[in-house]
């Protein structure tokens, strides 16, 4: 690494790496239960449809602060963690993406993050 690089401004990589870590944690702890309920138990009729009724979920995720926080924690870190791994996984598949793809990947997730906050507020 040259001196100019070493001295250059702060890097964004540590931030992206922390978000990736948070995503790995959130996916490991929350996604098994979420996928089980939303993707399997309710669609297959093992849990009754009322558990995901509009009245119940809109009151929880859109009107209570704990519910808003839950919606954010379930969706947002998972997106950051996944996009980080998709972006770096491309390298493993011999796709050497440039800055444009990188900005598109992380930029899209940034837009979705802001949109998630806007949706629950």
């Amino acid at each position: 690494m040259s001196m100019t690089q070493a001295k250059s401004a702060r890097h964004i990589e540590p931030l992206l790496w922390s978000l990736f870590g948070a995503g790995g944690m959130a996916i490991a702890f929350l996604m098994p239960a979420v996928i089980l309920i939303v993707g399997l138990l309710v669609p297959m009729g093992i849990l009754p449809a009322e558990v995901l009724s509009y009245e119940r979920l809109s009151a929880f995720f859109l009107e209570s602060w704990f519910g808003r926080l839950c919606a954010f924690v379930i969706i947002v870190p998972a997106l950051w963690g996944s996009i980080h791994r998709v972006y770096h996984g491309m390298h493993d598949l011999q796709i050497h993406a440039g800055t444009g793809i990188k900005v598109f990947c992380y930029g899209s997730v940034l837009v979705l993050t802001i949109a998630t906050v806007a949706l629950v507020l």
Binding site: F29, I35, L57, A71, I83, V86, G89, A115
Partner: protein, 130 residues
């Protein structure tokens, strides 16, 4: 940054040469499933803000046979992520309370935590049926 790093040529199927590499690639593939499922959940939240009819439409999509297959695959890949994540966590971030905590204690605490959180989410959701 005007640099052109040397990229060592590799065969595109380099990961097929060793079982450990193949497992690594299967594990890494879980991120694609989690990304798509995350987008699906975002769409669900969006439809929830659009009213009861839009929400019902999103729920109907979840019950589509192809979506159920996708959910099954995503659950399997997510569990692979969960197990490998817990397995590596104490090695990536060794925990210390006065002295080093054994890896197995950290793993047991994490698996216990995941079990409690999973039971709590399913329990809280199932309460809506009463």
């Amino acid at each position: 940054m005007s640099r052109r790093p040397y990229v060592r040529p590799m065969p595109a199927n380099w990961f097929m040469s060793k079982p450990a590499y193949r497992f690594y690639m299967v594990r890494e593939a879980s991120c694609v499933f989690n990304l798509v499922y995350g987008l699906n959940l975002f769409a669900g939240l969006w439809q929830l803000t659009n009213g009861a009819e839009a929400w019902a439409g999103w729920l109907a999509l979840q019950a589509h046979p192809l979506m159920i297959v996708f959910a099954l695959a995503t659950l399997a890949m997510t569990l692979l992520h969960t197990v490998t994540f817990v397995e590596m966590a104490p090695r990536v971030m060794p925990q210390q309370i006065r002295k080093m905590i054994p890896d197995n204690t950290v793993k047991a605490a994490m698996f216990g935590g995941i079990a409690v959180v999973t039971a709590a989410i399913i329990g809280f959701t199932a309460m809506g049926a009463m």
